[in-house]
């Protein structure tokens, strides 16, 4: 192998090592960066998994922060904004109630919002927040109702 080859290999090894180090050190939450964007990014892998890898967008309905905790309620739709056909989806969301609504509790650690737990609304009560708020976040964070639940009528998930 000639010198140029060794140089190229060395360069890529350095790049790979740098990427690995960067991956192990979470970047600080940049000043001014919206919490909303950060928490949605952090809960997205959970939603991607729920949807079996199908493309989606998450529209936050409620994002609340108290101290270093955040509670998010977001609706997942197709990228064009249309509703997901839940019957086509794998695993537990097949029995979810449309629109697919996911609640998540997150905590800020080392400058990064980390997912503690996420739950989706299912047809049967209890609602996801009872599960999440068992984790005892600070008073004042919730539980909160996602506004669209008000249209669900008397069989809406219990709060």
């Amino acid at each position: 192998m000639n010198r140029l080859g060794l140089l190229v290999a060395f360069g890529f090894t350095v790049a790979a090592t740098t990427a690995r180090i960067a991956a192990s050190e979470p970047p600080a939450l940049a000043a001014g960066r919206a919490i909303r964007e950060a928490v949605i990014e952090e809960m997205s892998p959970h939603v991607e998994w729920l949807l079996g890898g199908r493309p989606f967008v998450l529209s936050p309905v409620v994002v609340r922060r108290v101290e270093d905790f955040a509670h998010v309620c977001a609706v997942a739709t197709h990228p064009d904004g249309s509703a997901l056909d839940l019957a086509d989806l794998p695993g537990p969301v097949g029995t979810a109630r449309p629109p697919l609504t996911i609640s998540a509790l997150l905590r800020l650690r080392g400058g990064r919002w980390l997912l503690l737990a996420a739950r989706h609304e299912s047809v049967s009560p209890p609602g996801p927040n009872e599960d999440l708020f068992r984790l005892d976040p600070p008073a004042g964070l919730g539980p909160v109702d996602c506004p669209h639940h008000q249209n669900w009528g008397s069989d809406a998930p219990r709060r």
Binding site: A19, S44, G52, D136
Partner: protein, 162 residues
């Protein structure tokens, strides 16, 4: 007067190309998650990273500081799986009654915890976790492209015929 640099010979070009290819494979494997199953040994930075993502929720659920006895830590194709036994720092046992599961302990099988992770843009994320499952978590978590081999390394993946 300087001597012009030697022209690359076909042999040298092949060597350069091979080095480039090896380096490219190493770089992309790092960025996308390894294509081969990796059992993460103690001290492995990736193992530490996954455990640190699990710690905040476990501290809430166990109502106090925890350390992990790791039974399994693996990654494959951008997915990560760990199975841990949480305990108090120093190794003392955590009683179910001390945890947020005190009222539901009858439907649980100890505090062994499974957690699933996803690598996205060079960062690992906690996807889901379960404490004390009575069934194998794999039966509830295997959809999309979550690889069965994370749970069973001997599982042979067969591509569906077209």
């Amino acid at each position: 007067m300087t001597t012009p640099p030697p022209r690359p010979t076909p042999g040298r070009l092949r060597g350069t190309l091979a080095a480039f290819l090896i380096a490219w494979i190493a770089a992309t494997a790092t960025a996308r998650g390894s294509e081969t199953l990796r059992d993460l040994p103690p001290g492995d930075p990736e193992r530490r990273r996954l455990l640190e993502l699990l710690r905040p929720v476990m501290e809430r659920e166990m109502r106090g500081p925890v350390e992990f006895r790791v039974k399994l830590a693996r990654t494959l194709r951008g997915w990560g799986l760990v199975r841990v036994e949480p305990q108090r720092p120093g190794g003392s046992r955590i009683a179910l009654g001390e945890t947020v599961f005190a009222e539901t302990s009858s439907s649980m099988d100890g505090l062994t915890t499974d957690a699933l992770f996803r690598l996205r843009d060079d960062r690992w994320h906690l996807v889901t976790h379960v404490v004390g499952p009575t069934d194998a978590a794999s039966s509830n978590w295997l959809f999309g492209d979550v690889p069965m081999r994370l749970w069973n390394p001997d599982f042979v993946e067969v591509e569906a015929p077209n």
